[in-house]
Symmetry: C2
Subunit: 207 residues, 2 copies
Amino acid sequence: MKRLTLYLREVEHLLAQGEKRVSSRQLGQGLGVTDTQIRKDLSWFGQFGQAGVGYSIEDLAARLRQILGKDRTWKTALVGAGRLGQAILSYGPFARDGFEIAAVFDADASLIGSEVGGRCIRRMEELDQIVRDREIVLGIISVPKEAAQATADRLIDAGVLGILNFAPVRLDVADRASVVSVDFSARLEQLAFQVSLGLKGSIDGDD
Amino acid sequence: MKRLTLYLREVEHLLAQGEKRVSSRQLGQGLGVTDTQIRKDLSWFGQFGQAGVGYSIEDLAARLRQILGKDRTWKTALVGAGRLGQAILSYGPFARDGFEIAAVFDADASLIGSEVGGRCIRRMEELDQIVRDREIVLGIISVPKEAAQATADRLIDAGVLGILNFAPVRLDVADRASVVSVDFSARLEQLAFQVSLGLKGSIDGDD
């Protein structure tokens, strides 16, 4: 995925420069990737590009955006409007990166109806209906860990295809949805490990 | 690191059962790892274990704990006591996993002196002194992105060796410290990618 993101950035750069076609060799040169690797990565997603002629930059950009899910806005529901949920709602880059928080839910009756980040907090009982009506496809779970599995089941039953899980618990979704977990403790353990080994510099949480 | 964590768990299990020695083959059997892989992983960290005799389980456990940074308590400072900082402070597993939030700082004068998660919020001006006095070695940054780099510099100047960064910005620390970033947007992009490809099931943020 890292390399595909890199390819898309380079291809969009070429597109902005008015270029029409690019060979895998040209594409690789600026990125420090071999043309063999590029052809291999792209062939995973079907045949596009012709031997000797290279890729149409416009087609390649469109295809990469599609593969990376960047050709659409992802309607997302956030469940759990406590401190963490509020912090997530005020996190800037989501909207820029193609994610729209389309609804916010919480089980705490005292929060219902109040606004957070310009969005009204809804009752859990409304979740199924709203997720269906607004065609929400992703869910962010920022509820206490005891409630996380039930929340995941509920989101999936309502039609959600992917879950970003902030609760410190492993969700069991079998093959009903995709799950990516953000585990603060695991990141801190990773940091302690690096410091123990004397490793310096920056490592992204998504490496 | 994943494998080392796995080895430690298995070794501690054997230790609890009263076992004294284990061969790399025995260790690997329960874990689905070849003995060659285990010997290779462990040899990275120097010579321990003898051919034909195996490893002393007690020594191996101690060494693995040390390598993974689990043989100590990591004193940690949190900078930024807003919503995200408060959410991090109320995150349960930190203490269990060997991390102690030893001080909390914020630049917002209205927060100074108030308590959050049983800890008093301190002024930024006190950071250097407190980090030195309490021998704090890790920092968690949950400040707005504009303030993140200056906060990192300040923590490192005060003696911090590792930073867990929640701000959506890449920190430049050269070789002065270790940095692990938690990038919510990158995790959500990862999820969108998985959903686009129709991949189901659970993937940890730390994979």
